[in-house]
């Protein structure tokens, strides 16, 4: 990754698509743009790769529809954990889908088929993001005077009863600063490393602030920022993180809806289903609320709970009560929880259990360090261009591209293709069809479609693509093969649908018109 000026050359792109055809095409196209391409057939694998090399990619391009994970979900993860620009792709250009993409934070939405010119300019998203972050960070400045440090300390250490010396404060600040920079590049300065990395600590502060604001419907970035008291953080940083957080929570909400809670937590209100999550940022922070009590209530709480602590030895019993009850928050009186989108996030069975589980919840979803449990089964693959090994076997790696089953199409050098053109009349066709008999009945699909009430005509077999076609006398677009000699069996053809007789295809009792003739003859001759 170049340090100085920005250049699109060598942009590190991760392409995620379950369609092997598109994956191959996109890889080729991106390479032609002089990008460095990594391909991936599964969303989970993509996430694993991204987490493994946190600074290994500049941009992610992903399809919306994937079997193992919704593309929007992947988008969410990437945005939250890694803050990389993500471009969505789909063959479907419906407004609602595009909107969903934008709402989930996609920086662009491309429609398939994708053109070279669209890929040539994707680097702008990377540059834009960098510039934005540099502006954000530098805007606040790192030149902390004593004031700054004091404020910082206040946020961190006050209320903890800790006696913190100036020296220690300074060290902690440096540590925090380092944490917040890209971990793979510890020497980078703020001007070079523009990305705001939401470390666990930072995110915890964020959540605490959010919870503190709680059911106040205006849990806006400004307020959160104020509460967080992280000087170099900007409103924009918080706003974008808030957006992602809301999406994440609303998604969790949906998942939790089906779980039951013995703690008496009611299922979530339906209103926060939209992207605009209102002030119900309460329960995810329920356990952390106690932290927040320790952290941000400057003078009211003397509970010295460290931010990262996962368990509270002596939780405030108020906190554990089902969210419906009032007076669970220090500092304000929550109204009845009508908009508690996040109440259902955590099972409230047991206090310690709850408190234990919450940070883990965050860690798994938000933070970079911990991979999802499902990741462990994947084998690390360092090939620059890889197809997920869990992809279907026929699809081989692009690196060994020539080993793809192209021989169906590429005639071996020694086979000269010949085709004799015949003008076959209709009767000859049906005769031929009767003659060309092959039972591929072992094929399951065949049986299925047969059972779907289709009459089986005089059965014929499949046209093999290994046929030798003599092209010596092509006749415009009427291109017929001498099927008598050249048909061979498909070993794996599900050639069931085409077993219909011609008349059934066209829904009439007679053979088709001459106009349809050549087309249909082609069918009859070339397919089974």
């Amino acid at each position: 990754m170049e340090k100085g000026g920005f250049s699109p050359v060598g942009l590190r792109v991760l392409v995620v698509d379950d369609d092997p055809t598109w994956l191959k095409i996109l890889e080729k196209m991106l390479k032609k743009c002089s990008y460095e391409v990594t391909t991936c057939g599964l969303a989970r694998e993509a996430l694993r790769l991204l987490r493994e090399r946190k600074d290994g990619y500049d941009i992610v391009i992903s399809d919306v529809n994937m079997p193992d994970m919704d593309g929007f979900k992947l988008l969410e993860h990437v945005g939250l954990e890694l803050d990389l620009p993500v471009i969505m792709m789909s063959v479907d250009g419906e407004t609602s889908r595009v909107m969903k993409g934008v709402q989930h934070g996609a920086c662009d939405y491309l429609l398939k088929p994708i053109r070279m010119k669209e890929l040539k300019i994707i680097w702008q998203h990377v540059l834009r993001k960098k510039l934005q972050e540099v502006r954000d960070i530098e805007g606040c400045g790192y030149d902390g005077g004593a004031d700054w440090i004091t404020r910082y300390d206040e946020a961190h250490f006050l209320g903890g009863g800790e006696d913190v010396s100036f020296g220690k404060k300074r060290k902690d600040f440096d540590f925090e600063k380092k944490l917040l920079q890209d971990e793979s590049d510890p020497s980078s300065s703020s001007s070079k490393k523009a990305r705001v990395v939401w470390s666990f600590e930072l995110h915890q502060k964020f959540v605490n602030a959010v919870n503190q604001i709680g059911c106040d419907h205006k849990a806006g970035p400004k307020k959160i920022l104020d509460l967080m008291n992280v000087p170099w953080l900007t409103r924009e940083n918080v706003a974008s993180h808030l957006q992602k957080y809301r999406l994440y929570l609303s998604r969790l909400e949906k998942e939790k809806e089906i779980k039951c809670y013995s703690g008496g937590v009611k299922s979530i209100d339906s209103s926060p289903k939209d992207a605009e999550v209102n002030s119900g940022h309460q329960s995810p922070g329920k356990s952390s609320f106690v932290f927040s009590g320790g952290m941000f209530q400057k003078a009211t709480e003397t509970d010295p709970k460290p931010l990262a602590s996962a368990s509270l030895s002596d939780p405030n019993t108020d906190v554990i009560m089902p969210p419906k009850t009032k007076k669970t928050r220090i500092g304000f009186d929550p109204p009845p929880i009508s908009s508690s989108a996040f109440d259902s996030l955590l099972p409230w069975n047991d206090a310690s259990e709850v408190l234990e589980s919450k940070p883990v919840l965050y860690e798994n979803s938000f933070l970079q360090q911990l991979p999802l449990p499902s990741q462990s089964s994947y084998v690390a693959n360092s090939a620059p261009s890889l197809m997920e090994e869990e992809m279907k076997p026929p699809y081989e790696t692009p690196a060994g591209g020539s080993s793809v089953n192209a021989d169906e199409f590429l005639m071996p050098q020694d086979k000269i293709s010949t085709v004799t053109i015949q003008d076959l009349d209709p009767s000859a066709i049906s005769c031929m069809k009767q003659q060309e008999f092959s039972s591929n009945v072992t094929n399951n699909t065949e049986a299925i479609l047969r059972s779907l009430n289709w009459e089986l005509p005089e059965s014929h077999h499949s046209a093999s693509l290994d046929t030798d076609l003599d092209l010596s006398c092509l006749n415009g677009d009427r291109f017929l093969a001498n099927t008598g000699l050249y048909f061979q069996d498909y070993s794996n053809s599900p050639s069931l649908l085409s077993e219909l007789p011609l008349n059934l295809w066209y829904g009439n009792e007679r053979l088709p018109d001459p106009d349809d003739y050549s087309f249909m003859v082609d069918h009859g001759l070339f397919i089974s």
Binding site: D19, K28, K112, S402, N405, M411, S417, D477, F479, F526
Partner: protein, 155 residues
Amino acid sequence: MDTLIAQLQRQFRDYTISLYHQGFLDDQFTELKKLQDECSPDFVAEVVTLFFEDCEKLISNMARALDQTGNVDFKLVGSSVHQLKGSSSSVGAKRVKGLCVTLKECCDSQNFEGCVRCLQQVDIEYKTLKAKLQDLFNLEQQIVQAGGRIPQVDI
């Protein structure tokens, strides 16, 4: 020999144009050809092979789903056809793609008869295209073997 090459080249050109005119292929196929270069001389053939494999698999899935009499999972069929639509758009299989749209509509309206009919047509279409492209590639082979160059065909 030259005459043969010229003849083959003309045939190749004519055949290619006819495929476009008859709606078998669209400009995405042209784009694929542009991507082919010395680094990947068989690029188009490889991509097209992948596509047809995908076709086979998806059509088979859909047939199976439709076969569950009384309990047809139209959603599954719908998602498969969506995949096929995406796939066909990758190689410029215009007719296949068009049929996918129709099939999707049948799925959405849970029109069993329509789905069956459509799927059958999709099967026919992709096989037809497969055969035609095979012929095209064969022509290319012949040209090369005769010592000629494969002409650039502008649609």
